[in-house]
């Protein structure tokens, strides 16, 4: 008989894919995350549902924060001015680092078998 599967597996995978999307393979990791979310959308395990929902929602919002907002800045400011670069770099670095740190926190909670709601960005239902 197979050993019962660890209930944390999908939660850990979801949070790890969220981090890989931010750090190593943007886009590709998000597609894998969507596939994982689709495959386990009807999971009876609240831990799986929670972390999948958080990872997908926050990845989408992170995409907006990291692509749309900088694009808007690039289109509206004069990039020949050092101050424009200071603003852009500061925004991208702080925003990206905060998203990564929240992801690390999410991953730690998943490894510990606990649910997690991303502050401000996360979904309150799952």
């Amino acid at each position: 008989m197979d050993a019962p599967s660890d209930p944390r597996v999908q939660a850990v995978q979801a949070e790890a894919l969220y981090l890989v999307n931010l750090l190593l393979a943007p886009g590709l990791a998000f597609l894998l995350l969507l596939w994982l979310a689709r495959r386990h959308r009807a999971s009876a395990n609240p831990l799986t549902r929670c972390h999948l929902r958080q990872a997908v929602t926050v990845s989408l919002r992170a995409g907006l924060l990291l692509i749309a907002v900088p694009a808007l800045v690039v289109l509206t400011v004069d990039l020949d001015q050092p101050a424009a670069w200071i603003l852009l770099l500061l925004y991208v670095l702080c925003c990206h680092a905060t998203l990564v740190l929240l992801g690390v926190l999410g991953l730690s909670r998943a490894i510990a078998g606990q649910t997690f709601v991303y502050p401000l960005l996360g979904s309150r239902t799952w």
Partner: protein, 459 residues
Amino acid sequence: MKYKSQAVAKPYFIAAIGLFLGQIVFGLIMGLQYVVGDFLFPAIPFNVARMVHTNLLIVWLLFGFMGAAYYLIPEESERELHSPKLALAMFWIFLVAGAATILGYLLVPYASLAKWTGNDLLATMGREFLEQPLPTKIGIVVVALAMLYNLSMTVLRGRKTTINLVMLIGLWGLAIFFLFSFYNPGNLVKDKYYWWWVVHLWVEGVWELIMGAMLAFVLIKVTGVDREVIEKWLYVIIAMALITGLIGTGHHYYWIGAPEYWQWWGSVFSALEPIPFFMMTVFAFNMVNRRRREHPNKAAVLWALGTGVMAFLGAGVWGFLHTLAPVNFYTHGSQITAAHGHMAFYGAYAMVVMTMISYTMPLMRGRAANSRSAQVVEMWSFWLMTVAMVFITLFLTAAGILQIWLQRVAAEPMSFMAAQEQVALFYWMREVAGLVFLIGVLLYIGSFFIKGKSEAATA
């Protein structure tokens, strides 16, 4: 603690933590001098603060490595240390020499210090990280040789394991490569060429062996995973570290006047250098996931996992960022280098020493782990220091990107100081992150004084 003589590690660790605090204080002084140029001038000029900051780093890490070796090697060799008295004598010699050197930097003009300490007999001073006066350098050699004699005799007469052999080879390498600090040719190209044999072959060579051995030792203890599994990982990691790190020295030879082929050799091999660090991350997480027991010292497990991640990010990713010759052509000697240096030293070496301290200190104080409340404070200190270091690195990276663009890429490049003025905001933010780091260090020190119910030591 299995052997009484392992207790000699304790003063080494206490000294390491004290010097670590000093390093951070001088880092903050320097950080402020970046934006308030005359802060504490002329009492502590920038060049002196920088020298004290970097030298304290080296000295406290050496104290940490020595303390770790004095704890680890008797346990791995299954016998008492050959001579605990010699180890303690060397501790005091090293501490007095280190303190005298730092006081010399602070109280005496560097040129006078060089004159008074016999630099005219054998000129070794004045080079970054190797600023120590001749007597201090000789003292380091004496302390290292005495330590190696002590540890080698312990291993020779005891059990030989992969961990104690790798540790010992790392320490021998550390001592041997330091001898190049005495070679100071008049030709500047040759001087730089061999200077890297100390600096690079330490941090991207033999220190990785020491780090791997320390991490493996702690992981065996806290996870209960089979020694055979951990030792196989260690073999592969150190092989990769040496394969990539030795020829990877070439990434320092791009612009110093060495032959052009180093741009290829340096680029290719140093591009592979993140591999051993990535393996260390996988190694640490894999071992903790496969753990056979729940060790009561959660803080030590956290430090071990953090070491893997931060070493990979700081040494691996941030190193790779600017290691290829065509990239380094623009980034060389900019704040990108400072960003890499900060996270790499913290992630790889400061954290592995704190992993070892976190695991061994409770045992040397007669308990398996500190009380829950002490561990909570220690884990807070871990997160404060680590998050602060991430932000220090990011702000320095941002400063570096802007510095390179303004100073080296823009159609009308700015002068160095004009570019520095433009990036001042990032320096202020780095200073704030540095203050958070200091709070982390103070909490870390405070965690040693928190009492509470702790589990008795079994080994």
